[in-house]
Symmetry: C2
Subunit: 233 residues, 2 copies
DNA sequence: TTTTAGAGATTGTATAGACAAGTAGCCTAG
DNA sequence: CTAGGCTACTTGTCTATACAATCTCTAAAA
């Protein structure tokens, strides 16, 4: 592991442990240099990551300060699988695999030039606190992953891609819209009335620029909440 | 202006001008060093910003590549005013100021300890293509900005804060939820049925850590679309 | 023809040092 | 007692260099 990554992880752990109470100062660049015996740019890189992630803010001439975090957040601006998210938030989560079928990429994703793109469709339903709240439709391109043999209940698609197939996921583009529930939504999520659905459609890219999958994540709107941290400039 | 900022801006302009067609390579670190007569770390800083913003991706051993952008996006992960956003997207936008009144920060924002926090409430309605689609409620803390005298139609709140008052906005935290339309929504946006509303609540922070304002932005769900770029790791 | 080895290019990580710019606190001159 | 200046500390920018890791392509070897 890289030095700045190690420093970042350790500082983040200390922040989460409350070692630097609210608005308290983090060690300065020079303090970190001494503590870890690294160059200043290395320690700065670690802190820059924390700034990026919204944990701390730096003020020239003053120092580095912890930002009061509300930790119950559903960030959508980095690529994170449902399983990773639930683990991080320590929620009581459960996923049920509904089907793995041969299919094509639906036209809503506007991929390619109308010629059908073969894919493996994976449909899963997500429970939080024993309530079905999310239905995920994944379309994994057969060009990239020819076959999905066995998808264990305990393994996420991302884990499958990265650890078992050696692929590296780089980034994703997501669109968020609100749409009426369709029949499938109502049936699977046991909705009586027509609750609106928050639809998050993602294209996921590998580090060589190829698209590996399209995902449509359909969330019960009355259970959906997303918290974003955003910097200006 | 900083050197890396200048390089970043120039590269971004070239990307938007289509100088590096899709998936084409950007100049390498060393090419940029020669072109701008800077150290490698400086050129890398400029490119790192572009990576951060989702314009390019770097692959070790290969080079830097432009990511095919869909430019009609409503990013929510950086702090941008409605006016800046509309200008960037070249939409036909119009804002109507409804009221400026003395008020208090509503309790939904859970700020402070139940004691009323005096604020100036600014209510505005946003038109896109002559259709009312967004209602913004801004609560500007009187502790920070004692009085909002005249808010010209052509000036945004952010411009007022930054250019006229000399305040520096640093970051914001936003929560996104979907809620039923209330009577005010239906009246102001001329909604017949009860269309759901996408509610974006923000706390905006200055660079000294003080909160300057709370904003509740209420968007017609059937007109709302947000596009996000997200990196993994 | 196929495979291997190597050179060259590119990005990633890390170091050491320099100066600029902003902040806070102390101490002295008035 | 106050105002101003000085100093120490902190973050921001920039340079120059070194080596590692990865990829592509070419040329030589099998």
């Amino acid at each position: 592991m890289n030095k700045y990554q190690i420093i970042h992880d350790e500082l983040l752990k200390e922040i989460n442990d409350g070692k630097y109470p609210n608005n308290e100062m983090l060690p300065s660049d020079f303090a970190l240099m001494n503590r870890y015996h690294v160059a200043r740019e290395t320690s700065r890189k670690a802190v820059a990551m924390l700034v990026d992630e919204g944990y701390v803010m730096r003020i020239k001439g003053r120092g580095t300060f912890v930002i009061n975090q509300n930790r119950y957040s559903f960030p959508i601006s980095h690529v994170e699988s449902y399983r990773e998210l639930a683990a991080r938030l320590k929620l009581d989560e459960r996923t049920q695999l509904l089907s793995i079928t041969d299919s094509e990429v639906p036209s809503v994703f506007e991929y390619g030039d109308n010629t059908p793109v073969p894919a493996t469709a994976v449909v899963r339903i997500r429970y939080l606190d024993n309530e079905p709240v999310i239905i995920d439709h994944d379309y994994v391109l057969k060009d990239v992953v020819p076959e999905i043999k066995k998808l264990s209940q305990s393994v996420s698609l991302f884990e499958l891609f990265e650890q078992q197939l050696g692929l590296v996921i780089s980034y994703a583009k997501k669109t968020i819209t609100v749409e009426p529930a369709n029949a499938t939504d109502r049936q699977l999520m046991r909705l009586a009335e027509s609750i609106p659905i928050v639809v998050i459609r993602s294209e996921t890219f590998l580090n060589d620029g190829r698209i590996i999958s399209f995902t449509e994540s359909r969330n019960r709107a009355d259970r959906f909440k997303s918290v974003e941290f955003s910097r200006r400039h």
